[in-house]
């Protein structure tokens, strides 16, 4: 920057900058960079756009740089083969000095990049910055968004642990849905019909060559457009964008109230980038890298693979969609949504920019985030995931053991051994696919309990063939005790009326 004018003591430093400057000048004379680039960088931008609202794009770019550098470092050690990748990550984590830190930086860099990019998009959208004449910047940005997500997605596959299986499985099941060509696409993606050794090489190539190359290219275009078209001015309600007059107005604004992009315009970007860097390094140092968790072994069925944070919403969608909706929603909806987003400036390219007078924009942003947030929250809790370990690892609550008859205790054992707790919780522990059974006796009579267990229904398997009559009796006796102390269990009115003998299996005493 304007160091030369300010520097009050040239005595000590004179030699060094002088020599450096001379070398610089030597190159510049031949390369002619300064008279090409400098005017570019020093071009004037509206003073109002030097705001902390405008810093997220450059912060995203910074994260991308971090990803490039850390990614290259990791590439020195990482071995993209199914047999060795896991071991090479373990090596990075435990042996290679600071290897874990590189992994951590790369992981958090990716999280930061997606997060900052998302904020950037929202800001651009709310500030109407995509409108005339910045349509192309927006379209390119949309593709950058996609590519960045593609990096996050293929990156999680690089861990090639159990969670990576989720990514691969989902990817394959999306690809497999394409009509006619589905099989071929899956083959191309996985290197065969199933996840295997060639799969990782394919994703490695995507992650380190193809997608980054496209990203670099589009980033260059994006930045070029930002420089050439000029940074969006702070939107003012009532200042409408029209194709006829906007450029003129913008130039006037810049001429009247502008400042050079470098150094003035970028000051806040630099400050914010510094802060982001500190936050990133702290996260990496304190929270550490992700995984690799268990080795990817299809025989380890007990684990529920989960995607990284950004794909939890997708995870939830896949888990919750009824089968008949999957193909339309997964194949057709995303491209349409993407087109709608990318083509936004072509159907809303003029008019008001300010978010203050565009309630529709607000509503849209809030709706999208509420939906994504809810889905992500569901993805984190994933109540549809069976609790595969509960049957042998989660004790029957002590309160349901005390005071039970021997037969009822056998019923409790059947709830454990027949793995009912994979889907049903007792005392808050166990799966959540079915309702908690803690007070099931207040809802269902003995007959209804027997019916539900034998016939299943509503997503519950039928146990009729898997339970002996004695087991059913024990089970129903136990479930019949599942009501709060003061509250009576549900009774079959006809049975009470006919005052038949006490229902079999429910012994007195309570």
């Amino acid at each position: 920057m304007d160091r030369k004018e300010e520097n009050p003591e040239p005595v000590e430093q004179a030699a060094a900058p002088g020599r450096l400057a001379r070398i610089g000048a030597w190159f510049d004379l031949r390369l002619r960079i300064s008279d090409q680039i400098w005017p570019e960088l020093a071009h004037h931008v509206p003073r109002s756009s030097a705001s902390f609202w405008y810093v997220f794009g450059s912060a995203t770019l910074l994260c991308f740089m971090v990803q490039l550098v850390t990614g290259m470092c990791l590439g020195l050690v990482y071995s993209p083969s199914a047999a060795e990748s896991w071991a090479s990550l373990e090596y990075l984590n435990y042996q290679q000095p600071l290897g874990w830190f590189m992994r951590s930086l790369h992981y958090w860099g990716s999280n930061f990049m997606v997060a900052l990019m998302t904020i950037h998009v929202v800001q651009v959208f709310l500030f109407g910055a995509y409108k005339y004449p910045r349509e192309l910047t927006w379209v390119v940005g949309c593709f950058l968004f996609l590519l960045t997500l593609a990096m996050a997605f293929t990156g999680q596959v690089m861990r090639f642990d159990q969670d990576a299986y989720w990514g691969l499985g989902i990817g394959a099941s999306i690809a497999g849905r394409f009509p006619f060509v589905g099989g071929i696409v899956v083959d191309l993606m996985l290197g065969g019909p199933i996840i295997g050794a060639p799969t990782l090489s394919r994703f490695f190539t995507l992650h380190v060559f193809l997608v980054p190359a496209l990203l670099l290219l589009l980033i260059a275009v994006h930045l070029w457009l930002v420089l050439k078209v000029g940074i969006n001015e702070w939107p003012m309600p009532g200042r409408l964008v029209t194709r006829e007059r906007y450029l003129e107005e913008y130039h006037q604004l810049v001429a009247e109230d502008g400042e050079p992009f470098v150094p003035n315009g970028v000051q806040k970007d630099l400050v914010f980038s510094g802060l982001v860097m500190v936050a990133l390094v702290s996260c990496a140092a304190v929270l550490g890298p992700a995984g690799p968790n268990g080795p990817p072994d299809p025989t380890l069925i007990d684990t529920v693979p989960r995607p990284d944070f950004w794909f939890l919403s997708l995870f939830a969608v896949f888990a919750l969609l009824p089968a008949y909706l999957e193909t339309p929603l997964i194949l057709i909806a995303p491209p349409i949504l993407f087109l709608l987003a990318a083509l936004l400036p072509f159907y809303s390219g003029t008019g008001e920019k300010s978010w203050k007078v565009r309630p529709g924009a607000w509503i849209l942003v809030v709706t999208v985030f509420v939906c994504l947030g809810t889905l992500t929250w569901l993805g984190i809790r994933s109540p549809w995931s069976p609790d595969m370990a509960a049957w042998s690892g989660t004790p029957t609550p002590v309160a349901m053991v005390r005071g039970r008859t021997p037969l009822e205790l056998q019923g409790a054992l059947i709830v454990q051994s027949k793995q009912c707790r994979t889907c049903h919780s007792l005392g808050g522990e166990g799966g959540e696919r079915g309702p908690a059974l803690d007070d099931v006796a207040t809802r269902l009579t003995q007959d209804q309990l027997i019916h539900q267990v034998l016939q299943g229904g509503g997503n519950m398997p039928a146990y009729g063939k898997n339970l002996s009559p004695a087991q059913v009796k024990a089970l129903v006796a136990f479930l019949g005790t599942m009501h709060p102390p003061g509250q009576l269990p549900a009774r079959d009115a006809s049975r009470v009326a006919s005052s038949a003998a006490p229902v079999a299996g429910v012994s007195g005493g309570r």
Binding site: T394, S417, Y463
Partner: protein, 254 residues
């Protein structure tokens, strides 16, 4: 002047950063080798093995589970390793106790089963282990070469067990029937014997040595009690009430 100070500050920041990176060994984010994921069959910790495989039925601390408590010094004084490992490896057919050995379709290696039985013994043994003259765990033919005698068993039951379980085992202070055909069909004779031998001390039932002032049950009496209880087994348990239901079910699966 100002500038020099700034430069000094810059240098110290860089130095600090380097120092900090150098001290990375202690950063909280550094992965701990102890947390490294291991294959299920490489797990060697007794706590983990018990917690993941047994706590569900035998209770979090080895007591107050739906199945027999294992946190019982008397239990480990009487049972030997082969017996425990046999049960864990092969399970108990017809009961809720599953087979855990890989060879039986379970999930634990033989080494892990041995680690478990050793570890649980160490954890739950007590002073009782030294006491001589304890009955055996396994069901053995009575002294005259016969198993237990049913009518003798009924007498012993009336004198020693009826206080809590009612004269005919129908239930009393201790809730529920011991001679319910469905219950009996779901437990092994060994489980009945274990109930008499070790009681359910976690639920208030004494072991074979009885309450205060009682003399311990003799091996014959133990065998007789088991025989009496087992004599209530029937051919088709659990039928009477839900015959109609049990008939046509299971056709419309999920």
């Amino acid at each position: 002047m100002m500038r020099r100070n700034w430069r000094g500050a810059g240098r110290s920041v860089v130095c600090l950063a380097l120092l900090w990176l150098g001290a990375c060994a202690d950063l909280p984010g550094r992965p701990d080798e102890a947390d490294r994921p291991i294959r299920p069959n490489d797990v060697k910790s007794v706590d983990v093995l018990y917690g993941q495989n047994c706590a569900g039925c035998h209770g979090a601390e080895g007591r107050l589970g739906a199945a027999r408590p294992l946190a019982d010094p008397l239990y480990w004084a009487i049972v030997n390793d082969a017996e425990v490992q046999g049960v864990v490896a092969r399970g108990v057919a017809g009961t809720a106790m599953p087979a855990f050995a890989l060879s039986e379709g379970g999930t634990l290696s033989d080494a892990q089963i041995a680690i478990l039985s050793d570890g649980l013994r160490t954890r739950w043994s007590g002073p009782d282990s030294a006491a001589p003259g304890l009955p055996t765990w396994a069901i053995q033919p009575g002294q005259n070469g016969k198993r237990g005698r049913v009518d003798q068993g009924a007498q012993v039951f009336a004198s020693r067990c009826a206080v809590c379980h009612g004269g005919k085992g129908e239930g009393g202070i201790a809730p529920g029937s011991l001679v319910d055909a469905s219950y009996l069909s779901l437990v092994s004779d060994q489980a009945l014997r274990s109930a008499v031998l070790f009681g359910r001390t976690d639920l208030g039932m004494p072991d074979f040595r009885g309450g205060s002032g009682e003399k311990p049950l003799s091996p014959d009496e133990i065998a007789d009690l088991v025989a009496w209880m087992a004599s209530h087994r029937v051919a088709y348990p659990g039928r009477p009430y839900n015959e109609s239901d049990a008939a046509g079910v299971g056709e419309d699966g999920p």
